[in-house]
């Protein structure tokens, strides 16, 4: 049992900052180290894809459901993917129940944009019949335990969910959808793997993957989504300001660490094979 407060004592705050000045973290990491990742996939049978991702003590469970609906008129041959996030009150006493608040909407939107603007989901493959029927994917992120840096955990869990997805394959017959008995899997749907990396800033020190106490005393954060060679979305949040040099440095760092993380996690191992 850990007591969580919105306010951190001055002595703890100073301890964290003094450690950071020596390029050390209170949990023994360096400035550019992630906590340990643990990933399980396809644990929810009722979902068409799911992932249980732990980043240190932060734990996120994500599931995918699909519906067949009409496409948007401006993109008649493309499917749709929406991301929702819910901060469950059981994850932390800081989370209150009720309709989604700013923090959960930000989590969902940052993860969504990271995926949307990378060439990640092959929306054309999610079309059953132009102008008539496309798949609508719902990637729903549930935070089970909150210990800092939900965005990175949410991003990886959304991506793992998409990779592990298996959606019944439909074809258009006359004027309705018939199921072929086959499946469209993550291998078909997903192409690029965008990774979102969050950096915290306290004073003029910048570091990756803020843990809960670090997140509580952070002046601000910046989340950068990267593919192999491109930056696809950036979100600055909190009351910190970043210099242009900092942002350039962080973009480079994000690209470098993103590639490293993508290699280390090897997310394609979580695809499902359906015979």
């Amino acid at each position: 049992m850990m007591s969580i407060r919105r306010v951190i004592s001055k002595i703890e705050r100073n301890y964290i900052i003094n450690n950071l000045k020596n390029e050390e973290r209170i949990d023994g990491r360096g400035l550019w180290d992630y906590r340990e990742w643990k990933i399980k996939h396809n644990l929810v049978a009722s979902a068409e894809g799911s992932a249980d991702v732990c980043l240190g003590d932060t734990r996120v469970i994500t599931g995918l459901k699909y519906e067949v609906g009409e496409p948007f008129p401006d993109i008649p041959d493309e499917g749709v993917c929406t991301v929702m996030a819910e901060l469950l009150p059981l994850a932390s006493p800081l989370f209150e129940r009720g309709p989604p608040d700013e923090q959960s909407i930000e989590l969902a939107r940052v993860v969504d944009r990271g995926i949307r603007h990378a060439d990640c989901i092959q929306t054309k493959k999610l079309c059953i019949k132009e102008n008539e029927a496309v798949y609508i994917l719902f990637v729903d992120i549930y935070v089970i335990n909150y210990s800092g840096n939900l965005i990175d955990a949410g991003g990886i869990s959304a991506l793992t969910t998409l990779i592990s997805s298996h959606i019944p394959e439909g074809k258009w017959v006359d004027d309705h959808v018939e199921w072929t008995g086959g499946y469209i899997t993550g291998e078909t749907i997903v192409k690029e793997l965008p990774i979102v990396l969050t950096f915290g800033k306290i004073g003029d020190i910048i570091f990756i993957d803020p843990s809960l106490p670090e997140e509580l005393i952070c002046d601000g954060k910046i989340s950068i989504s990267v593919t192999k060679d491109k930056v696809t979305s950036i979100q600055k949040s909190g009351a910190a300001t970043f210099s242009i040099d900092d942002i350039q440095m962080l973009n480079k760092k994000a690209m470098e660490l993103g590639n490293l993380l993508r290699d280390n996690l090897n997310l394609w191992q979580y695809k499902v094979n359906i015979e």
Partner: protein
């Protein structure tokens, strides 16, 4: 536009060899796995896998009541929030809590309240959050069982644990612990819970039809199953402390 995939109900709920579709006997429970203390931010927590059901429960309290007007000057209040994940069921559930979830929350609150000493905590609240990650029949019983464990894990004084199970009738036979498909296609469903300090029924609902002497059989069967579940709950609670003892005692467990 019509879709051809539907929830399909099998014609028979028993196999040729007389066993149920998932291979169970009439009185057999689905496999149950219980764990306590798995969420470190809550005051108490528990996780349960009951067949395909996967449920987390966490408890906060006694803490300040929010909104304040709900506080009672002479006793604490218990509030239970039962919620299902959107992907926990066959058709995506809407994220906002529906009527069913609100009713079940209330039923579980009423079921758990008798075992707590709320009069000792005036002006405070105990909040139980139950999140169903995957649902396959009998979630209200599973939720009650896991919520009682989470309360115990939080160290909240209780008169006893609470255990819960559903009994029902499928294809004319009375069975214990209905799975999702048996619940939907069967004739009768009777979820019940027992408070062990007085061995009385604390949760009771019934849907279906039965004649008067069947109720007796229903409840007798339920009680045997409940005893089994109670043992599992006790073992789950004990195993947490055995783990702690082992950790700080160099692998030795004191009897």
């Amino acid at each position: 536009m019509t879709l051809l995939i539907k929830d399909e109900y099998p014609e028979k709920l028993f196999r040729e060899d007389g066993k149920r579709l998932d291979g169970r006997d009439l009185k057999e429970l689905r496999p149950i796995k219980l764990e306590v203390g798995i969420l470190n931010n809550a005051d108490g927590s528990a996780y349960l896998e009951w067949g395909n059901n996967k449920i987390f429960a966490a408890v906060y309290g006694p803490r300040e009541v929010h909104p304040h007007h709900l506080a009672k000057p002479d006793k604490g209040i218990l509030r239970v929030f039962y919620r299902m994940a959107t992907f926990s069921v066959f058709e995506r559930k809407r994220p906002a809590p529906g009527r069913r979830e609100k009713e079940i929350s209330m039923i579980i609150t009423d079921c758990l309240e008798p075992v707590l000493f709320l009069e000792l905590y005036p002006g405070t609240s105990f909040e139980v959050f139950i999140d169903v990650i995957e649902a396959d029949g009998g979630t209200r019983c599973a939720s009650t069982t896991v919520a009682a464990l989470a309360l115990a894990d939080a160290g909240i004084p209780m008169k006893s644990l609470v255990s819960s199970v559903a009994v029902g009738k499928i294809d004319g036979k009375i069975v214990v612990d209905l799975s999702g498909i048996e619940d939907k296609a069967g004739e009768a469903d009777l979820p019940c819970a027992i408070t062990w300090f007085n061995e009385e029924i604390s949760l009771l609902q019934f849907d279906g039809d039965m004649d008067l002497n069947e109720l007796d059989t229903f409840l007798k069967l339920a009680k045997d199953a409940l005893k089994e579940i109670y043992e599992m709950q006790l073992n789950a609670l004990k195993s947490k402390y055995i783990t702690i003892q082992e950790k700080y005692n160099g692998g030795q467990v004191k009897q």
